[in-house]
């Protein structure tokens, strides 16, 4: 089977400056992570806070350079960032990203239309009419009307902003969309809207999702495959249904058992589990 995205033994180490009582050291945020994502597929990375999910996403996007390991897209290694104008644009058309916080993922000074148009102008040699057409099409695709398109983010609700962010990310028709906790900050009712929207968009455009989340319910809803991360390492990977219905790794089980559902009763595990 062909693969769109491939990660091989990806590792990221952050230097840690010296502090009181602690010498300078290193923090291994991501350690030996490998997985693949087929074209048009949807893969979720789950795990608790600090497990390295975002770091993986940022490395894939090119916002962070891996300490070691390889990232391939269509079998080709991703070339280094800041490579020059042409390369920069080519990269942009491969992968785009939607962030968690709808309040900071759009420029407050730009209307939604202007934000999308800016990208189109930078990437395509289109005339104004064609651009306008495409903007309208994208807005319709994510369920925003004309009025909302002409508004600045301040005038939009969280859900609407997230729709706008998705429209902008899709403007360049990327092969892969990275969604880092893209629905975590939304209200339940709005979250459902966006989850449905994402499902529809994947069906329509064939874009692949790399979906970062700590919410197992959302993961089940959105992804075909899933990777469970714990302390920077992959502890379990496979089809989402398999992993969630029949978890093999103790950590995955622990995670699943902690999710509230009807009939669930919270239980104490070890004493003083959290560290200082």
């Amino acid at each position: 089977m062909s693969e769109l995205l491939g990660l091989e033994n990806l590792r990221k180490v952050f230097p840690v400056r010296a502090a009181a009582g602690e010498p300078a050291g290193e923090l291994v945020a991501v350690d030996d992570v490998s997985f693949t994502l087929p074209p048009g597929g949807s893969l979720a990375v789950v795990g608790e806070s600090g497990s390295g999910k975002t770091t993986v996403a940022r490395m894939v996007a090119g916002l962070e350079t891996p300490t070691s390991g390889r990232i391939t897209l269509d079998g080709e290694p991703r070339e280094a960032a800041r490579a020059g104008r042409g390369a920069r644009k080519a990269r942009a058309r491969q992968i785009q990203m939607v962030f968690q916080d709808p309040y900071t993922s759009l420029d407050a000074k730009q209307t939604i239309e202007a934000a999308i148009e800016e990208l189109l102008r930078a990437h395509f040699d289109w005339d104004a009419d064609r651009r306008r057409e495409r903007v309208a099409q994208l807005l319709a695709q994510v369920g925003l009307d004309k009025r909302q398109g002409g508004a600045r983010p301040r005038a939009l609700s969280g859900g609407q902003r997230q729709r706008a962010a998705i429209a902008r990310a899709l403007a360049l028709e990327p092969r892969l969309l990275i969604l880092d906790e893209a629905v975590a900050a939304l209200d339940v009712s709005v979250q459902a809207q966006i989850i449905n929207l994402l499902a529809d968009l994947r069906a329509e455009t064939g874009v692949a999702y790399l979906f970062i989340s700590h919410d197992l319910g959302v993961v089940r809803q959105i992804s075909d495959d899933c990777v469970v991360m714990h302390r920077g390492r992959v502890v379990e990977a496979g089809r989402t249904t398999t992993v969630l219905d029949d978890p093999q790794d103790p950590y995955t089980r622990r995670l699943l058992s902690a999710v509230p559902r009807p009939g669930w009763v919270p239980r104490r595990r070890a004493t003083s589990g959290a560290s200082a």
């Binding site: 608790e48 806070s49 609700s157 969280g158 859900g159 609407q160 209200d187 339940v188 009712s189 709005v190 979250q191 459902a192 809207q193 989850i195 449905n196 499902a199 700590h214 919410d215 197992l216 319910g217 959302v218 089940r220 809803q221 249904t241 969630l244 219905d245 029949d246 978890p247 089980r253 622990r254 995670l255 699943l256 058992s257 902690a258 999710v259 509230p260 559902r261 009807p262 009939g263 669930w264 009763v265 919270p266 239980r267 104490r268 595990r269 004493t271 003083s272 589990g273 959290a274 560290s275 200082a276």
Partner: protein, 350 residues
């Protein structure tokens, strides 16, 4: 006002009825709570559930009487028969220091970052003329109870040196220290991982039951609320829309909003296209004259837009919907999901 849970004669510990709240925004009063009514009996746990901005936190602030300057309330807030809004300074202080305690969503913001955990824990006791030694002993003992092993060391540490989960336990301990009768927990686990959330919830639940505390528990998560409370009140735009026993809320929800909320939560156990309540949650001040949920409600009729429904008893629920009886058991959504979904077999994955 009729009491719906407690047997007649036995006063509930907390009774909030027809609470209204206005807060000045740039000099003009803004409606934050329209009509909030609920009761909490002694030793009972009530879950306050609703989306962001629905007024859950504001309700608890009225209970604590920690309101912004210029806030105007209307309606009754009674604690053990005494009006909280009418208390004088001394009574209020006694009430706050020995009757209620509160746990916040973000413990890091709620604890003074420049004083030690120990100072934070003991200051209330010290204020009540408990000796330093005794106060510290009691604090350490409580820390142990909430599962903090090296308590004496933790006492000397500063908040920023503790993880979120530990800090929330410190908060729980501090709430227990003054032996209150009512505990208010405002989304105590939202900032935590699910595994930590389970721990903290377990401790909270355990402490509460041991001490027979009444609890007002605020959350977005209906499932979580159902697991730790006796009854649930669903809020929307500054109004309590429905109150019901936690145990069977999933099956018996009456209000279209409650049912919609339940249907829009993705489940860990099966995949189904979600029902998404159209539009976005509105704030209290944006709501029209009718039912606050009217413009998002698929079942709304003309009268829903003009006439605000009062909270009334239907079955053993309290519900504020004109069409409650009419729609009972008939709310289904065209996404393919149906209201009976909650009856499905629960497969425990562990």
């Amino acid at each position: 006002m009729n009491s719906w849970l407690n047997p007649p004669g036995a006063d509930p510990l907390v009774r909030v009825s027809h609470l209204r709240l206005d807060i000045p925004v740039r000099g003009e009063p803004r409606r934050v709570l329209h009509d909030v009514s609920f009761e909490v009996g002694a030793g009972e746990a009530l879950g306050l559930v609703g989306e962001s901005g629905s007024g859950k936190s504001m309700t608890t602030r009225v209970l604590m009487r920690l309101l912004p300057h210029g806030a105007a309330t209307d309606g009754d807030v009674l604690f053990d028969g005494t009006s909280v809004t009418g208390m004088d300074r001394r009574a209020l202080r006694r009430y706050r220091s020995s009757e209620v305690a509160m746990i916040y969503q973000d413990p890091r913001a709620a604890i003074n970052p420049v004083s030690t955990v120990g100072a934070f824990l003991t200051e209330a006791l010290r204020e009540a003329k408990v000796s330093r030694k005794e106060a510290e002993e009691r604090a350490v003992a409580l820390l142990r109870e909430v599962g903090i092993t090296d308590a004496p060391r933790r006492m000397r540490q500063y908040p920023h040196q503790l993880s979120g989960g530990l800090l929330q336990r410190v908060m729980i301990a501090s709430a227990m220290l003054t032996k209150p009768r009512l505990l208010i927990a405002d989304e105590p686990t939202t900032a935590l991982d699910v595994t930590t959330q389970e721990e903290v919830m377990a401790i909270l639940d355990e402490q509460r039951r041991e001490r027979g505390l009444a609890l007002v528990f605020i959350t977005h998560d209906l499932d979580l609320a159902a697991a730790v409370t006796d009854r649930i009140a669903v809020m929307y735009a500054g109004t309590v829309l429905e109150t019901a026993a936690s145990a069977n809320l999933h099956e018996t929800a009456l209000h279209p909003y409650t049912v919609g909320l339940l249907a829009s939560r993705p489940s860990t156990v099966d995949v189904k296209r979600l029902w998404a309540i159209p539009g976005r949650p509105v704030s209290a001040f944006e709501a029209g004259p009718g039912c606050v949920f009217a413009d998002r409600c698929p079942f709304a009729q003309d009268r829903c837009g003009t006439e605000r429904p009062a909270l009334r008893t239907v079955d053993d629920h309290q519900v504020a919907c004109h069409r409650a009886e009419e729609l009972r058991g008939r709310i289904t959504y065209e996404t393919g999901g149906d209201a009976d979904r909650a009856h499905d077999e629960q497969t425990e994955p562990v």
